[in-house]
């Protein structure tokens, strides 16, 4: 595992494979969710903003899933892993598959995810795996924009009109229970952290809480204690939403295998 990059193809590493799926699937499923906004956003400018973020995330997913395929060594590439895998095999966190709801709910999800993703990738750029470090360095610039952009919206909606404030509070109320999962450490995370491939997830918590506190103060929003965590995404136990997302996302390549532009 310590020499993952060079020996990936010759010596398959299940923990690294699973870890790469987690990284790739987080970005892929959130990209698919954000893409649902395309043509439906409140303003054309916001439509473009969300599509840009979605495209950034697709790019990240492609890089991680392609690499996952190499590590697995069974000839699967990123497309194969994205479009020909069932829900039980997806390793994304539950947060990213949550419904868009209204714009406030989408921004709550985006803010929580991007704030956490920024901290995770600040660790990943120092990965002992050169390929992961390279992908993370490219992605981190995108993620910093996503985190700042979504924080701007949280502040504007939270500290906006009574209606925007209520929508922002309701949006977070939906998402809170999926926050703890982001910091859960299981045997795969422990192995990855031990090898210096990725940061220990639980070590990101204090910086995450500090970022939240600062944004919520600016947004004049109340920070409520988190409800009991809902877990399972990392093991393939997903909400009912993921099946619907995959049905739409995978329909074309599964109906017409090998279809090209």
């Amino acid at each position: 595992m310590t020499t993952a990059s060079s020996s990936a193809a010759s010596r398959p590493d299940p923990a690294l494979f699973d870890y790469l799926l987690r990284l790739g699937d987080d970005s892929l499923i959130l990209a698919q969710r954000l893409s649902e906004w395309c043509g439906h956003a409140p303003m054309i400018e916001v439509d473009l903003s969300m599509s840009n973020v979605a495209l950034d995330l697709v790019g990240q997913a492609m890089l991680f899933l392609d690499y996952a395929g190499q590590v697995e060594g069974k000839g699967r590439d990123g497309d194969k892993l994205a479009f020909h895998r069932d829900a039980l095999r997806f390793r994304n966190c539950l947060l990213v598959e949550q419904p868009n709801g209204d714009f406030g709910q989408t921004m709550a999800r985006q803010y929580l995810f991007s704030t956490w993703q920024r901290l995770l990738f600040q660790g990943l750029v120092k990965s002992t795996d050169a390929q992961i470090a390279g992908i993370a360095a490219k992605a981190l610039k995108e993620i910093e924009y996503h985190a700042d952009w979504s924080a701007e919206w949280v502040v504007r909606l939270g500290d906006g009109t009574p209606e925007s404030r209520e929508r922002m509070i309701n949006g977070f109320a939906w998402m809170w229970r999926f926050v703890d999962e982001l910091f859960q450490v299981d045997e795969i995370d422990a192995a990855v952290a031990k090898a210096g491939i990725g940061p220990a997830r639980d070590s990101l918590r204090s910086d995450f809480d500090a970022a939240l506190k600062s944004t919520f103060e600016a947004a004049t929003l109340p920070l409520t204690p988190l409800p009991a965590a809902v877990l399972g995404g990392r093991k393939g136990h997903h909400s009912e939403h993921l099946g619907h997302i995959l049905a739409e996302m995978q329909h074309l390549p599964r109906s017409y295998p090998g279809a090209v532009w």
Binding site: M43, I44, E45, V46, L48, S49, N52, W149, E152, R156
Partner: protein
């Protein structure tokens, strides 16, 4: 929409040393988001290295009906172009 966001004019510097040039406009609730909307709308294909946004309401424009008195008098003054001067052969970089 009566509660539409205000309009902002977007200026892009395409690379260091060049001037900012007008690219178009965006709607946004405030200056910070206007910059983000400008970035997301006009620099998706590596168009720039710097952005300005200016509230459209702050632009003072000349009156199209005054185009005659404003611009036509210049038509007959071709001597304002520096084309009547002899440039010595050994002057370079002109």
């Amino acid at each position: 929409m009566s509660n539409e966001w205000p309009l902002w004019e977007v200026f892009i510097r395409t690379k260091g040393g060049l001037s900012h040039r007008h690219a178009g406009s965006v709607r946004a609730p405030d200056a910070e988001l206007a910059l983000r909307h400008a970035r997301d709308t006009y620099t998706r294909r590596l168009e720039g290295v710097s952005l300005w946004v200016v509230p459209s309401a702050q632009i003072v424009a000349s009156d199209p009906h005054q185009a005659g008195p404003l611009f036509e008098p210049a038509e007959s003054k071709i001597y304002r172009h520096p084309t009547f001067y002899h440039v010595p052969d050994n002057v370079k970089h002109i």
